[in-house]
Symmetry: C2
Subunit: 680 residues, 2 copies
Amino acid sequence: MGRFLAILFLSLCLHAEEGMWTFNNFPSAVVGKKYGFAPTQQWLDRVRLSSVRLAEGCSASFVSPSGLLMTNHHCAATCIAQLSTNEKDYMKLGFAAQSPAGEVRCPRQEANVLVAIADVTARMDQATKGLQDKAANEARKAETARLEKECASSESVRCEVVPLYGGGIYNLYKYQRYQDVRLVFAPEFSIAFFGGDPDNFMFPRYNLDATFLRVFDNGQPLQTPQHFKWSKAGAKEGELTFISGHPGATNRQHTIAMLETERDFTNLHRLAYLSEYRGMLTQFQTKGPEQDRIAQDDLNGVENSLKVYKGRQHAMVDKNFFGQKIAAEREFQKRVQADAKLRTQYGKAWDDIAAVQTKFRALYYPYLYLERNYGFRSQLFQHALRLLRMADEFEKPNEKRLEEYADARKPSLRQAVLSPAPIYPELEIEQLTFSLTKMRELLGPDDPTVRALFGKRSPREIATGAVKNTRLLDAAARKALMEGGKQAVAGSHDSMVELARLVDPFARAARKRVEEDVESVLTAGMEKLSRARFAVYGTSLYPDATFTLRLSYGSVKGWTENGKAVTPFTIFGGAYERNTGSFPFALPQSWLDAKPKLDPQTRFNFVTNNDIIGGNSGSPVINKDAEIVGLVFDGNIHSLGGSYGFDDVMNRAVAVHSEGIREALRKVYAAERVLRELEQ
Amino acid sequence: MGRFLAILFLSLCLHAEEGMWTFNNFPSAVVGKKYGFAPTQQWLDRVRLSSVRLAEGCSASFVSPSGLLMTNHHCAATCIAQLSTNEKDYMKLGFAAQSPAGEVRCPRQEANVLVAIADVTARMDQATKGLQDKAANEARKAETARLEKECASSESVRCEVVPLYGGGIYNLYKYQRYQDVRLVFAPEFSIAFFGGDPDNFMFPRYNLDATFLRVFDNGQPLQTPQHFKWSKAGAKEGELTFISGHPGATNRQHTIAMLETERDFTNLHRLAYLSEYRGMLTQFQTKGPEQDRIAQDDLNGVENSLKVYKGRQHAMVDKNFFGQKIAAEREFQKRVQADAKLRTQYGKAWDDIAAVQTKFRALYYPYLYLERNYGFRSQLFQHALRLLRMADEFEKPNEKRLEEYADARKPSLRQAVLSPAPIYPELEIEQLTFSLTKMRELLGPDDPTVRALFGKRSPREIATGAVKNTRLLDAAARKALMEGGKQAVAGSHDSMVELARLVDPFARAARKRVEEDVESVLTAGMEKLSRARFAVYGTSLYPDATFTLRLSYGSVKGWTENGKAVTPFTIFGGAYERNTGSFPFALPQSWLDAKPKLDPQTRFNFVTNNDIIGGNSGSPVINKDAEIVGLVFDGNIHSLGGSYGFDDVMNRAVAVHSEGIREALRKVYAAERVLRELEQ
């Protein structure tokens, strides 16, 4: 084994393709030396402005001058499902707008383009200067709210303070915000997710996990002179590839104490919770075709998360892997302890972080279940709580609010309240019953909060009462409450608002305890370690992923699994071989019909050794000419340990090949409108 | 902490009440020294012959001269559920036979009384002498079959070779076997399991988890001159208590390498599997009252297992606890290495066991899913496979068969085939679909076995086809196949028999690989360690639990939880305070009606520091006069780490108080028939 050895502190021995680099600290020289191509600032700017973040958690890119966005089907699936009805199920049938007017707006989709990055470390440092944990934490949040408000000059600008390297550096990211995103083309779910959960995170794969959206501005397609052109040939073996996208989160800089909490506590709970929820949903789906349809989107998310958490656990219980994380931490500690100045400034950070773990474990379940929705898996409840808190928080000064209610976040809040996405009461009742039952189990029936919330009621009674009698299904009713503000909300006797009102003080208290007693200590400790890391290992580092734009480099390359070579490409023919006719291995009719027209040798999916993680879904794979050669949609099973370290021998990004996409558009779907745009 | 320190190698420093002792090696002198009462051989014999094993996995005791058995409601729940219909649901309503003729036979219950123990270590050693792992393993199985057959002179005798101390000693246990066990009295499920899964493994508790059965012999109540009488006063604080029962399994002598496999691999999988299955079942129950009823028994078992596995995992990820297991192993190793003779004989055992773990992990899923029913959670499938294998195996010489088809096991097999227990096709389809889906997930869709079994069929297609078309629902059809033997079974085109026939070769192959490559090495290694342990620590040890009769001693004693004293008793009044009216906190109508008549101070449940584990459910708690003072039904949450070591500070057995049982029989149920018998 030993394959994780060199990965943990990259500045010591940077492994070939490791790194999710920020656009203002990209190692162009290193890439140039290895691949003979060093990205210039102009090249980086072009790529940045052609790259798009989908605010709900994915990546995308502009692929035409008229705002055409390419992303994964699974990144647009919630929208596609929300636009579907039992009569017209676009998940099943696919979707192709025949004209611009036929492009349909997604109920809740937001696209962001990163237009500027500013360093605000000095201001954040100034704000927290001389303050201790709890006070520092409050000051940090207040300064964040101030900075974001100053930056967001209008609602079409989104600003976020991003702590990088665990807080050693704070950057202010400024995005252009677009909330009118429309569906242009989507294939059938059965080919987008061919192989389903069994094949998820596996390779070889045969997925057309691609969808096209369009960004509109003032009712017109957005003009996007900065966009990616299509490569003529697509990805070739060994070719240099860049992936520009938004990796969500990695924990590579977490201390051993933090990882142990994750391994032995939080992750174990998540695995059990999500497994049970999965069983609930799949059985709910057997109640009928409509139930099958309405639960599928949630199920896809749950199954994906489950594989991720299982993969992470697998990595963390690997003695070799974890042993090397421990060794790396010891080495780092030794270096800090060996330097009197560093020791004084940063030497206690590990112990501080370790000491707070016990407290974190004690506060975790109330926090998770009351404040982080594990106890209230219900869109209606989330609507109610949001309305309630908007009314309360907007009365406070901007920098004193819960952070997600700061002025700079108002456009997202409004979009969430007004979203016309359908809500299914039957499913809501089951979801809420399930989550309330789990809350009672994890907090215990004698917990004072549980007693206060439940009284003599069962989880099902609470859920049924709240869902059946609420008016919040209706976006107009939510709009009225939002616009009525504090007075309207306070006077509401809506059943779901009343449930949220009952829960809110307990949820706020649980959150406050975690923020004051745990988060404050962790943030301070991680900030110290971040600065110690710069001092010891220099500044040519990349930060842990933060769902902000990053660039990784690598090349098209297979790997060796149990002694057998895995070639980096699959072809159309393989999908037909794998077809059984039964979900999730059933090709859609369109593909069966098109078989005679298709060249079975057409490249379909491929892998590269770029360093990516969840959130990179929908990222373009580009060549050195910044041309599309593929579309990231997954990682292989070894990529799941990527949360903690990059294994360049085994970890692979999985993408749809650009030729596979074009060929399918041309011959399976005759999607000439989209094709013409790609070829502009 | 440090509270596990002294527990791991008891001969070094035997912790007060630790130990599940065999009846032929009970530390009477130690007990006498501490409590002023040393059990005599006569006392031990009397207790042994009054103690009963319920073959499906519980304990019980004779409590009248006429074969009246006391056990837990949850030990009889499968029987009670099987006797119930949608019209007459005894789980909901309780059951009380008004006359001997009204006592109803359980479809599948077997009671065993341990009548003799013989040491057969020498014969087993002789059989395996000079043989290596695989050959030794085969010889051991063959000798076991021979010994059991020789011993089981008639079908009313059950004989089992029991490897004790991990195989350092082999004993032959001879039981009187009774297959006619009838239901006499059961309370409502809602009071038997008051508090449900949330309260399971918790204390304080308020459960009447008691049921009375009767053993019949030749159609008449069995005469049982050896039985326990009832204590006048019941358990008092500090009183010496014995628990005689059948603890199922502990892993206290497992090596660190084995425990790591359990912690990092097998247990993680179980937690996810059972959690998902639980979600499936609870959602299935929402389909209607009948579905709710028929799935409840399975759900209870699953929820109980889940808590057990979670508790075990919690113990194993406790760094302090596990660190001490590691320290104890090192100490043991050091002692063995320090002695040239011991080193030569046993020194390699740890490494051998560690080395085989990787192989075990690779073979585990096929074995579990194909051979251990994880892939075929269906009574109908189990019926089919049993019939198929009976036909095949009975053609082989006794000692060459799969062990569960040896001649000595025939009565159990026949009882299983002929059981009139109802089978619910709707539930079977969901269970089989679920388990086949999990099998495909864990083995992978490209696994050759999966390909061979599934072909182009989905899990639901396979399950539906096999369940809907089988005739095996009908016990008469099964009987015909059993009696028709090889020819009848081979000629059967029953859908479920055909599925079993398809699976059988793969299942056998998976089992064979585990037995030859893993089990053989583990058995040899554990046998060596067992003998090394005797050599180093002497012979005053108790063996790991083996679902055979054991006696533990201790006293009625509370504990301290988070600095707060937990008193050892609860009272009737507490149940009324806890009543919410909603499941699982709803008292039955009978208890609500009886409230005015009951003394709220009556002792209901209590705890002792006896060392027990799953399988001890239904065990009598007796005083030094061998009188019933309580009925074990659970352990507290700290008892779950008991799989790996005994923590006398926190680990507690939970029992129904004898007075609580009598008072409820008298005033809630007016169960005069049973009461009179108890008072004989």
